[in-house]
């Protein structure tokens, strides 16, 4: 999967957790989940759990801590898809 393909899929994972739907359509690797997409910090856990289920991967707590923007999310997911 290319980074672009992961980003496209990631949008669907993130969608239920942001009220900022316009911003979601235009996300890039620098988009911050909390600051830009106004996601409740407690819900980051849910995004990680949903991503694990979607890609059939396991994201440990240390890796999860890095997933603060779209780029780092893609880093963690693509590493585990290798």
């Amino acid at each position: 999967m290319t980074r672009q393909e992961i980003l496209t899929e990631l949008k669907k994972v993130i969608a239920p957790y942001t009220t900022n739907k316009e911003m979601l359509a235009d996300i890039n690797e620098d988009t911050d989940l909390i600051r830009d997409l106004k996601i409740n910090s407690a819900n980051l856990v849910d995004i990680i759990i949903d991503a694990e289920a979607k890609y059939d991967i396991e994201i440990d707590y240390d890796a999860a801590d890095k997933m603060m923007n779209v780029g780092t999310c893609i880093d963690v997911i693509s590493e585990r898809l290798k």
Binding site: P16, Y17, T18, T19, N40, A42, N43, V45, D46, I49, E52
Partner: protein
């Protein structure tokens, strides 16, 4: 003398109607909300009926954000949100606010989190998958879940309290909100209660043999308070909510006023003198009613209507005796009395708030709602109260003062005195 407290908004999710117009229509016309539950037959329950609101889960999109709704599983929270937010809108106020509403608090009660929803949690934990539970479980499992969702949506910034007193929860919540305003701690309180009787709670009541077992084929006849053939209650679900305000505060914003809360009392019989975990100590009940009258500054003869607890168990007769002893009234001299449970079953924690909404509608629209399934009144009850004081058809009449009481497990009692606003 404290502040006067008035009701300026109401919302209801009842088995026989969601929203005030539907609920008013239902209680004026004696429409039953008791339904046959096929699933309960499969589960081998003895009673297979429930007072179940015709609730559309998707309707919550009109009340909360899609993000909040995603992952919301607690049925009691859904009911509570709709009743509370409807009451708020009915009171003429918008949901959204940037600043906390420091002048407004919330007392909302419930019995237990939605155990059916929590079953998923238990299965995952037992399956060693706790890390997959996500962030939304705790906020829905905690007793203050309903209150937290309501106060968060509306930005309520005064006291936010979750109460629980079994079947007396709803009336107790309203009383607590009334007291906070009366004593000047808050100018407005959003009060009420919610209940979702899931299969696990239902099963536990079924096993106590306190539910009506003989009417599974005729659901609408099953809830029979004060009837000779009353043989247990029908569990119900739903929520009721009221906006209470300091009278001056309500007048200053030209709020519509439905009624006034004159006073009330909440006590316990102490599980002494005949009171137990499951039975009321009559001395405690009578004391609660008398304290309510005293705190309201009214005499017993001014009560036009009693909205009873009256669940359709063998406790009905003793309840009537207690009212008679407390008020010093019997026969033709007894106030009108009715039981909303004849239409919707017993909504447990939500009973008091739904029944208070019904009581205030009767004051505001000047009627006494009928008692269903009273074609065979219990003679031990009509020995105390004339049958014509227990109407089986709606009576159109001015209703100035209602006494609304509920009695719960743990030998807890709550009584409110509600009045037309003069």
């Amino acid at each position: 003398m404290g502040k006067r407290v008035v009701v300026t908004g109401m919302g209801v999710v009842a088995p026989n109607g969601i929203g005030l117009p539907a609920f008013l229509h239902a209680i004026q016309n004696g429409l039953s909300g008791v339904k046959f539950m096929p699933h309960y037959r499969e589960l081998n329950f003895s009673c297979q009926l429930a007072g179940m609101p015709d609730f559309k889960w998707d309707s919550l999109t009109n009340y909360i954000s899609d993000v909040t709704l995603h992952g919301l599983k607690g049925t009691n929270i859904g009911y509570g949100l709709v009743a509370a937010l409807d009451a708020w809108a009915d009171s003429g106020m918008p949901y959204d606010t940037d600043a906390p509403r420091w002048e407004t608090g919330c007392v909302f009660g419930n019995s237990i989190a939605d155990t059916e929803a929590m079953k998923n949690v238990i299965i995952r934990v037992d399956n060693k998958e706790a890390r997959k539970l996500g962030s939304r479980v705790v906020e829905q499992a905690m007793n203050s879940g309903v209150t937290s969702y309501i106060s968060g949506r509306l930005g309520l910034g005064n006291k936010v309290i979750t109460n629980s007193a079994a079947c007396a929860t709803g009336t107790q919540a309203i009383l607590m909100g009334y007291e906070y305003i009366k004593h000047g701690y808050a100018q407005r309180m959003l009060v009420g209660s919610a209940e979702h009787v899931d299969t696990y709670v239902y099963g536990a009541f079924d096993s106590m043999r306190v539910l009506s077992r003989k009417f599974n084929d005729s659901p609408e006849k099953a809830s029979r308070p004060m009837s000779l053939t009353a043989a247990g209650f029908i569990p119900g679900s739903g929520a009721g909510a009221l906006v209470l305000e300091d009278l001056d505060f309500a007048l200053a914003r030209n709020a519509k006023i439905y009624a006034e809360v004159l006073g009330g009392s909440s006590n316990s019989g102490g599980q002494r003198l005949g009171g137990t975990m499951t039975a009321a100590n009559s001395t405690g009940v009578i004391r609660c009613i008398n304290e309510s009258l005293a705190s309201s500054g009214i005499e017993a003869q001014r009560i036009d209507l009693i909205s009873g607890h009256l669940t359709a168990t063998n406790a009905d007769r003793q309840e009537i005796q207690n009212w008679s002893d407390a008020l010093g009234k019997k026969g033709n001299d007894f106030p009108y009395i009715n039981s909303l449970k004849s239409m919707i079953g017993h909504c447990l924690s939500a009973a008091g708030s739904i029944e208070t909404v019904a009581s205030i509608l009767q004051i505001a629209h000047e009627f006494v709602h009928p008692n269903l399934n009273l074609d065979d009144p219990n003679p031990e009850i009509t020995n105390i109260v004339s049958a014509d004081r227990i109407p089986v058809k709606m009576i159109k009449k001015e209703v100035n003062i209602v006494a609304k009481a509920n009695f719960g497990f743990g030998d807890v009692n709550s009584c409110l005195i509600l009045s037309k606003y003069n």
